[in-house]
Point group: C2
Chain length 131, copies 2
DNA sequence: ATTACTGTCCTAGACAGTTAGGACAGTAAG
DNA sequence: CTTACTGTCCTAACTGTCTAGGACAGTAAT
């Protein structure tokens, strides 16, 4: 679990932590049931307040990514979203639409876009293989 | 140019305007060179302060989507990003990675993802045909 | 020059988001 | 029970964001 923070980016620290843990979970760097660093030591390592890490973990828990238990720590949750597929589908479409619209303005056509998506899935699978 | 605002969503009004105009431009609902609504009438129609619309237009201009000229109004810009392809590619990859990671947590695999992307491009092309 | 449009700059108030410290509460080992 | 760890809640300060109104400046037609 290596987390890199950029304090100049303007992006909230707790969101940087959220994104990187979500990404690590998707790549298989952390597996379901595996414990995450506890809040205080991680906060010390990252040189931020413990509540900043706590907020990140709280956000991850509300998204169903991790499970925290008072006094015990946090572990990566099973990848079972409780939401109905139709809802999850809508959420993903929102993300995809954003990328598709952005692609138009960045002058990438459908074929190039699909190629990039394949590349990024490959990059993710590769990380899985390494673990 | 129909813009729908949601004041309860928590998302800043000016960003809602930005997104919807970007989307309209990508779908071909507005074409390069075509004039956009002027700031004050649009603000009145949407029942927001003129500076809120002005901020949206300012953001769109900084992204190279529109061009505003003092005293004349704003028009949709040609779709020529001044950035180098390598830079634009990096920006798009960031968007795609976000969607790919989200797909994992929403339990969509690569094949389903690619199918959704195709669907969304189709939906965009369809709008182009209607105009 | 006047009028009626247009976009832009400046400033400030209100509000939400972010981070931080203190205190509290659950867990588990000795 | 004590100790040392764990997550959680409350509150406050700070900061930046968002929205708004007043004043200014460019454009074009009469």
């Amino acid at each position: 679990m290596l987390i890199q923070l950029n304090f100049k980016s303007g992006k909230p620290v707790y969101l940087q932590i959220v994104d990187q843990i979500k990404s690590a979970a998707a790549s298989g760097a952390i597996k379901p049931g595996e414990p995450l660093p506890t809040i205080r030591p991680l906060a010390e390592e990252l040189r931020v307040n413990r509540n900043t890490v706590a907020r990140a973990y709280s956000e991850l828990e509300s998204q169903g990514i991790i499970e925290s238990r008072h006094g015990k720590g946090s572990v990566l949750a099973e990848n079972h979203s409780p939401l109905k597929k139709e809802i999850r589908r809508k959420m993903l479409i929102d993300e995809i639409d954003q990328a598709v619209v952005q692609a138009h303005h960045l002058q990438f056509d459908r074929a190039e876009f699909l190629k990039l998506v394949d590349e990024r899935f490959d990059a993710l699978e590769k990380k899985k293989g390494e673990s």
